[in-house]
């Protein structure tokens, strides 16, 4: 099988060409930049949950670690100021180390015990970021953050297309990395653990080591996503920007897309984040245009329906496509 099967190639071709038809700014860019950030987080979670079968409910924590690492090391409110690119490198490394530190003592736990530990880790991370305000600026967030430079040229925040392609480039790199790993010894070991942990162990696959590599890889990708998220906003936002709901969003991306499918994760990110950033954002506008809406009571405001629509959409998707929109087999078999 090819490293990048047709659906993935098609995705990148379409995505790379899309901005040519979309003008140079607008909601489209905001939505798709968010989609790409969450594609990275989703790819990370796909390694952990999709390939290795470890339920991780704390991806947002790794995003937060990435965002804050990047911010502390690059923002001009601190003396480090190592610049955008070294910041990204440091973020990936710290993300992997954070994954290792959480994983080392806990990856021996079975399924849902691990899930609650990762969920707890998410809560702890938020609290620590909030409480250590001398370092993290508490709920203020750290800002401003540097823009990426290419030689002497700097990508400014308004250059939406530039950011779009930059992020798409990062997604492409991540997809390449994940696909390469998936189709190597590490990937086979991950899949074998998901398929049958005991048989895998009896075949000589060391479970903890293997899970640890998956966990660190996933965390590193999530941290990268977090750093780019912060760079896009030029601020880390407040710690609550990385709360449990974000972890849930990442999980929904992977499962709705199709567990263990790289193409599925990419599509899952488009669907879930797109719904979040386009459909639900436009909902009030559409309702207003249709003459619905107002502040007279709780039901009249379209904003009050967002949870309901989001929830219904989730239930419907898994009901109609229990294996995800693009399960691995459609990707051309994992073989």
């Amino acid at each position: 099988m090819r490293l990048l099967p047709t659906p993935i190639l098609a995705y990148f071709a379409i995505m790379a060409a899309l901005p040519l038809f979309m003008g140079t700014s607008g909601l489209f860019y905001d939505a798709f930049q968010a989609i790409f950030v969450f594609s990275l987080v989703g790819l990370g979670l796909n390694v952990v949950t999709g390939f290795t079968g470890l339920l991780n409910l704390g991806m947002a924590a790794f995003m937060a670690i990435g965002a804050y690492t990047f911010a502390i090391l690059t923002s001009d409110i601190y003396p480090f100021q190592i610049g955008f690119w070294w910041g990204i490198v440091a973020t990936v490394v710290i993300g992997a180390v954070a994954g290792f530190l959480l994983g080392a003592p806990t990856l021996g736990l079975s399924g849902d015990y691990l899930a609650i530990v990762t969920m707890g880790f998410g809560e702890i991370t938020l609290d620590v970021l909030k409480n250590l305000d001398a370092v993290t600026k508490g709920t203020q967030g750290i800002n401003p953050l540097p823009r990426p430079t290419f030689g002497s040229w700097t990508l400014e925040l308004q250059q939406e297309r530039g950011w779009y392609w930059l992020l798409l480039g990062f997604v492409l790199l991540a997809v390449l990395a994940v696909r390469r790993l998936e189709r190597s010894r590490s990937g086979r070991a991950w899949l074998s653990i998901r398929e049958d942990a005991l048989a895998s162990q009896c075949m000589g696959i060391p479970p903890k080591r293997t899970k640890m590599i998956a966990f660190s890889t996933g965390s590193a990708l999530a941290a990268l996503g977090g750093a780019l998220f912060a760079a896009l906003l030029s601020s880390t936002g407040e710690p609550a920007s990385y709360d449990f709901q974000v972890s849930i969003l990442a999980l929904c991306i992977v499962i709705v897309g199709g567990m263990g499918s790289v193409a599925g994760t990419l599509v899952g990110a488009v669907v879930m984040v797109g719904m979040n950033s386009l459909v639900l954002v436009k909902l009030a506008d559409w309702a207003g245009a249709a003459g619905v809406g107002g502040a007279s009571n709780v039901l009249a405001s379209p904003n009050n329906w967002k949870y309901l629509i989001f929830g219904l959409a989730l239930i419907l998707v898994v009901r109609l496509k229990p294996d995800g929109l693009l399960p691995p087999r459609l990707e051309g078999g994992s073989g």
């Binding site: 003396p79 001398a134 190597s184 398929e195 005991l198």
Partner: protein, 344 residues
Amino acid sequence: MSLLEVRGITMRFGGLTAVDDVTFNVTEGQIFAVIGPNGAGKTTLFNAITGVYEPTDGTVRFRGSPVRLEPDARLGFRAAVVAIVAGLGAFLAINIQELWTVGIAANYVLNQPFPWEKAVADVLHAARGVPFAWGVLPAILGAGVGAGTVVALWQRSRRTPDLIARAGLARTFQNIRLFTDLSLVENVLVGMDSRMRNGFWTNLLRLPAFSHERAWTEREALDLLQFVGLSERAHEAAGSLPYGHRRRLEIARALASKPAVLLLDEPAAGMNPSEMVELMELIRRVRDRGVTVILIEHHMKLVMGISDRIVVLQYGKLIGQGTPAEIRADRRCIEAYLGTEGEE
């Protein structure tokens, strides 16, 4: 010397003794069978040998060694490193606010060069002023918890199936456990993992060693599939195989690690007579590759036909062992087992 020595293995689950003080030796190159009625503790014995269960009592020695991690310098080193890191971490976690303020915030002026030496000196000075309860105590606590964690985790991983598999004991399962979403080749490649040398980075960056290893492992995997007669379906998903072929794939997967011993748990279960003949043939060929075979089996024809040596279990106890001819002559064995099941 025997290849595998089983000494006084006992397995208790709560009040139930599934395996009771079983002792036997397996010599290299044999086909060795474990028989006994249902519930005699055969699979439990296998699980105890392969590390799936930790035996309540008794030892298993393979090539004279117990195949388990012993406390060594590495463990001590690891515990020490983790203790230091955790201790420092606990100290920092509690005092980072103060230290950061003293070292970084107080010394940094926007857009001015940062006086690193002064910052370090300030931090060290401030660290010395941290009260005992907020400095030394958390550090000791952190170090203790860190070292304790290392030891607790190590304790649990002393004799795990992967260690035993890597030592050279491969196995199959009574209720076939393939990786159904993986292709046949990939199943075999998973079995070959212990012989692969390329690490994470080699595979990620596709360094030259990657393609070299990929080439020889895939070739060997295909050879193994050929050996068990499944090479035509090499790239299909294992889940699509018919039942009879799954056994063969499981055997190929187990052989991939080049084991010295292959443990087969009821390989002929659910097979028709002609399939069984093929299986006997396959087991012999496995033995001829130099692999010692230990099998659990109900089909007397198969067992008597290929085994060099047999042990008989009943209610977890070993009630007899010997060559097929000796077992056939042993009254207790016949009563316990052959008398009822032999009519099959």
